[in-house]
């Protein structure tokens, strides 16, 4: 019998039915806020796609993003995503080490030249020629440049790889920056978060496989499928915000009744991410549901914004950094965040139509 060529053929050989594909894509479409009708198209496209080679590099980070990635789905659904991708190199997860690991990476690059997705986790220190982060005698800076050269696209995962994150927090002793400050000639997708929502990482890869193209991105290169709405926009506590019902402290009557956490520092109105819908730990909960405000970890410089428990309109110490674009508008008026989010989606749709007409 010939070797299976497509993901569908491969999984059929293992006795995985198309119903499993549909269940998986129903979950993915929901996490991406795509219309549920797209689930069927995604299932059909995934079945005819080939496995995607992925090379995963770890730089200046805590490995929390890899930890998050491996918990992306429930045990049974997780099996599926690992059939869709070929994780050819990941220092934290792979069995081999040393010379054998480097050889495996070289082989993967050679066999998938121009086709592999490079996943970058962690910031890159630039001070003193990048000597603050090295692996096998090479600086992270050199490794990134070498492997980015032949990649189809780069996915920067986590707040460190996207915006510098904790390593870049003041006083930024190593001169850490995000990936897109270094690589400028490749398509880059930023999936920020500390850690990022696991489904946003695997879902973005599944999206590329399903539709054969990169997803639409916002001004910070974040996929709109996961970062198109603010946390506040999709928060189940939002009706309380609209009615002016706020918790004033973490143990008052409002907190016990589940009212809006805006006044105890929730950054939901200025934070774009899918936590309120996809949630965490298998969809059980997310910080706001557990009674704590959003920290805004998927926005640039979240660590240096002057305090997690200060309400947004209060003066915040951005230390010379400017809160960008739509987020800045949200600081001024959280109440209009829904309108902004809708406008973002509309603009993205308009741009798409423009691109298609060109």
């Amino acid at each position: 019998m010939s070797k299976p060529q497509t993901i569908g053929e491969m999984l059929q050989e293992q006795g995985v039915s198309r119903r499993a594909f549909l269940k998986f894509t129903a979950y993915l479409a929901s996490s991406m806020a795509l219309t549920p009708q797209m689930a069927k198209a995604m299932a059909d496209n995934l079945a005819t796609a080939r496995r995607q080679s992925v090379i995963w590099l770890s730089f200046q980070e805590c490995s929390g993003c890899t930890e998050s990635f491996t918990r992306s789905f429930s045990p049974t659904l997780e099996d599926l995503i690992f059939n869709f991708i070929s994780l050819d190199y990941n220092e934290t997860l792979m069995n081999v080490s040393g010379v054998a690991a480097i050889e495996a990476r070289r082989k993967a690059v050679e066999e998938n030249k121009g086709k592999y997705i490079l996943v970058a986790e962690g910031a890159i220190p630039l001070d003193d020629d990048g000597v603050f982060s090295t692996s096998a005698g090479n600086t992270s800076l050199a490794e990134l440049k070498e492997l980015a050269k032949d990649a189809m696209a780069i996915i920067a995962v986590g707040s460190c790889a996207t915006f510098g994150g904790i390593p870049a927090a003041l006083p930024n002793p190593t001169g850490a920056v995000g990936i897109d400050q270094i690589i400028t000639d490749k398509p880059i997708i930023n999936i920020p978060g500390c850690p990022p929502i696991p489904e946003a990482m695997t879902g973005t890869i599944a999206y590329i496989l399903s539709f054969g193209k990169l997803p639409e991105l916002d001004h910070l290169k974040r996929p709109l499928i996961y970062f198109g709405n603010s946390i506040h926009d999709r928060c189940y506590r939002r009706p309380f915000y609209e009615r002016g019902l706020f918790a004033k402290s973490f143990d008052d009557e409002g907190a016990r009744k589940g009212w809006c956490l805006y006044e105890v520092g929730c950054k939901g109105p200025v934070t774009y991410n899918a936590c309120a819908t996809v949630k965490w730990n298998g969809g059980i909960t997310f910080p706001i549901q557990s009674g704590h405000g959003c920290l805004g970890c998927s926005e640039p410089n979240f660590w240096d914004k002057g305090g997690f428990y200060k309400p947004i309109p209060a003066p915040i110490n951005t230390v010379g950094k400017v809160v960008a674009g739509a987020a800045a508008a949200g600081v001024v008026a959280g109440a209009v965040s829904a309108t902004i989010a809708r406008a973002r989606k509309k603009n993205a749709a308009k741009n798409k139509v423009k691109e298609e007409n060109q």
């Binding site: 269940k23 689930a39 429930s74 045990p75 659904l77 189940y236 016990r256 009744k257 969809g283």
Partner: protein, 136 residues
């Protein structure tokens, strides 16, 4: 020992979202009844609390058909007391809800056998028949 009230996790309250979704279902069911146009509503992407979803489930009720699907974890599918309105709940390997939809259709898509699966099954069955003939 029980936790003090201030430390117990918040129970998401009723927000009124179930009313809005119910109106949408009613409207889409009218459309389906008149034109056959199907609709899927993704309950997990809406800002509904668990209490809202429970409220909606109770108000739609359970009708004549209930189906269990065992694929990548269990899925529970039932027709509500309103013909053509199906509740589809996909559960993962840990027993948690992975996806939840309202399907307004005659039969939810996931229940139909895909032609590729039918082709693979036909090949498998033919193989069994051939083997049995050879054995005889």
């Amino acid at each position: 020992m029980s936790l003090p009230e201030s430390l117990t996790p918040c129970t998401p309250p009723l927000t009124g979202m179930a009313d809005s979704v119910l109106s949408e279902i009613a409207e889409r069911l009218q459309v389906f009844a008149l034109s056959g146009e199907e609709t899927v509503i993704d309950l997990r992407s809406l800002p509904m609390s668990n209490a809202d979803r429970n409220d909606l489930e109770v108000r739609l009720g359970r009708g004549e058909v209930e189906i269990k699907l065992y694929v990548s974890g269990q899925s529970d599918i039932w027709e509500t007391t309103f013909a053509g309105v199906w509740w589809v709940r996909h559960i993962d390997g840990d027993g948690r809800i992975a996806a939840e939809e309202i399907n307004i259709t005659s039969v939810p898509d996931i229940l139909r056998a895909h032609p590729d699966d039918a082709r693979a099954a036909a090949t498998r069955l033919a193989g069994i028949n051939t083997k049995e003939s050879d054995d005889v």
